[in-house]
């Protein structure tokens, strides 16, 4: 257990104390924070560890939301539906991964982007099952008051975040994580030395999908109404990338910090400048990429090492 992974677990433990002193609004923010952290951590497995620029997060978020929503409407319990969404999306992503991850660079990015479109159109057209463009109403699960409801979903999302963090830490310190780092650095060479790159990449893609999909499931149960343009929003694919870039690619602790920071900025902009919020997000992305290419960690290194680098 490295120091930064320990810091991550401490940070997550601190977040759990939120319901002790906060109202429903802060709990809502906390739930979204946990959700964003899950998304960013998951993206980091395939984008940060393996170095594949995946834009498929929204696809699996929507998949999980709809899978859970449909199951809940059939009277299945919430826990069971979320677990079902998690397992099925792992299988789906691992299967798709064996095909899609043969592509590299731009081609993979576009293929993963179009996965979102394909799944959205499927959901849009399967009106009998999903309600199509009309959206899907999801029955209330607890309904025992606003605060109880808010803290229930907060803890659900928090638990998911904890599980994700454990898995991601386990991956990063295991043979799988080492293999993914090899793939990121030189895939051809790692194939040559006998690493089963296809298997590793598929598992990574599956892991990056399953928690996202569970987060989508909890989100669906939380907001009680989903429609394709909401849960298959391409922004769900881009936001985790921005968070990871903010916090510094590859490090789970940095990525979660990036997610929290991003949520803070988003909320401030959203509350105060609703008409231009997406433009401000764009400006933020541009500034981040031009001036802080390695995220917040580059603040520290550039302060101390800038002179040394050009010697």
């Amino acid at each position: 257990m490295t120091r930064s992974n320990l810091a991550l677990l401490v940070l997550i433990a601190c977040v759990a104390a939120l319901p002790l002193f906060a109202g429903p609004y802060a709990l809502r923010l906390g739930t979204i924070a946990c959700m964003y952290a899950v998304l960013a951590l998951s993206w980091n497995v395939v984008g940060g560890f393996a170095g594949y620029p995946s834009f498929a997060t929204a696809a699996f978020f929507g998949f999980g939301a709809y899978a859970t929503g449909v199951l809940l409407n059939d009277g299945v319990a919430l826990t069971l539906s979320v677990v079902a969404a998690l397992i099925s999306s792992f299988a789906l992503a691992a299967l798709l991964g064996t095909v899609l991850l043969r592509l590299r660079g731009h081609y993979f990015a576009i293929a993963s982007l179009s996965l979102v479109e394909v799944l959205r159109e499927f959901v849009n057209n399967a009106t009998d099952l999903t309600g199509g463009g009309m959206g899907l109403n999801i029955p209330l699960t607890s309904g025992s008051g606003i605060l109880a409801d808010a803290s229930f979903f907060f803890f659900a999302m928090w638990g998911l975040l904890l599980a994700t963090a454990f898995v991601v830490i386990a991956v990063s310190s295991s043979k799988l994580g080492f293999g993914l780092a090899c793939i990121r650095q030189n895939e051809t060479a790692s194939n040559m030395v006998g690493l089963n790159a296809t298997l590793y990449k598929s598992i990574a893609f599956g892991l990056s999908a399953c928690f996202v999909s569970a987060a989508g499931g909890i989100y669906a149960a939380w907001v009680h109404y989903i429609d394709p343009s909401d849960v298959f929003d391409i922004l769900y694919s881009v936001k985790p990338i921005v968070m990871a870039l903010m916090g510094g690619l590859g490090s789970p602790f940095g990525v979660v910090c990036g997610a929290l920071l991003y949520l803070g900025l988003e909320e401030v902009v959203w509350r105060n400048y609703i008409q231009i919020h997406s433009g401000v997000l764009g400006v933020l992305i541009v500034i981040l990429l031009l001036f802080l290419p390695h995220g917040l960690t580059s603040l520290r290194t550039s302060m101390f090492w800038r002179k040394a680098k050009h010697v």
């Binding site: 592509l103 731009h106 576009i110 394909v118 159109e121 057209n125 231009i276 764009g282 990429l289």
Partner: protein, 288 residues
């Protein structure tokens, strides 16, 4: 007769799709950047045509002449000031950067034009011609002809002019081009400017046919993706071939299975092509 009508429609639409995608393909091929702002450039071009017609009653054909230099300048500056700074960075960085730029431009358009759908309606309308039972609207015919003319112009530019040859040289082998004395950064800026100009002109033509709204930019961008992958990157003929193929698949797909499945069909085709033939219909392997 229905088949002939669908065929003609697809032919007309296919050339327009080619025109939409050609700037995107140029930028992707030459700069190795997936330009996510492309869709918003097209919509901005459509707004330019709409505004020119509504406020100054300049017909769209002449708006093309305004749009081309304006968008070229915009693209050139964007590349020189912003994108050239990270042009050597990995895919993720340039892709996310253009996404950020797209968010900004799209938000500006929503702010000034609102999200309402608008339509440029020519008065008097140009009507349509019908040969046997096949009906062809005249404005659509003219738009297609202009799209083909623009495509031909780009082809000539790349084939005949000195700058065009330099762009092709950078596309084929960047390092060799540097050694031959080509200023790569300014070629990048020119190529991006050309891509933007083509997007703006395509937008002007689109305003004659499709409703205009900032929300449609994602659709245009998606079409550009599909066309590029189908036809092959960075070549003029590839974009046209991809556009025609996409239009045929969409046209016949929506006649056979219903229009709601046309998008699924085209993106399914995209994924199949990416896996089976990533170099596209006319691309050469190892050429990207």
């Amino acid at each position: 007769m229905l088949a002939v009508q669908v065929l003609i429609n697809a032919l007309l639409l296919g050339c327009l799709y080619g025109c939409i995608a050609i700037g995107f393909s140029l930028v992707w091929g030459v700069l190795n950047v997936i330009n996510l702002i492309h869709g918003s450039f097209i919509v901005l071009g459509a707004y330019l045509a709409w505004a020119a017609y509504q406020w100054l009653s300049i017909p769209p054909w002449f708006a093309l002449a305004i749009a081309a230099p304006l968008f070229f300048g915009l693209g050139y500056l964007l590349q020189q000031l912003v994108l050239n700074r990270v042009i050597t960075a990995p895919v993720l960085v340039t892709l996310t950067l253009t996404f950020g730029l797209d968010l900004i431009l799209n938000n500006v358009m929503i702010y000034y034009f609102k999200a309402d759908y608008r339509k440029l309606t020519l008065s008097p309308p140009m009507g349509s011609v019908s040969i046997l039972d096949v009906v062809v609207p005249v404005d659509r015919l003219l738009a297609t002809a202009s799209a083909l003319a623009l495509t031909g112009l780009l082809y000539l530019l790349l084939r005949r002019s000195r700058i065009g040859r330099a762009i092709v040289a950078v596309r084929l082998d960047r390092d060799a081009a540097v050694l031959m004395g080509v200023d790569v950064k300014s070629i990048y800026a020119i190529a991006f400017g050309l891509g933007a100009a083509l997007a703006g002109c395509a937008g002007v033509l689109m305003s004659l046919i499709f409703p205009i709204s900032p929300l449609t930019s994602a659709t245009f961008l998606g079409k550009s993706f599909v066309v590029c992958v189908l036809g092959g990157l960075g070549s003029v003929s590839g974009a046209l071939a991809g556009g025609l193929l996409l239009a045929f698949v969409e046209g016949f797909g929506s006649t056979l299975f219903g229009p709601s499945h046309a998008i699924t069909l085209s993106f399914g085709l995209l994924i199949i092509f990416l896996i089976v033939r990533p170099q596209g219909l006319l691309g050469r392997k190892g050429f990207e």
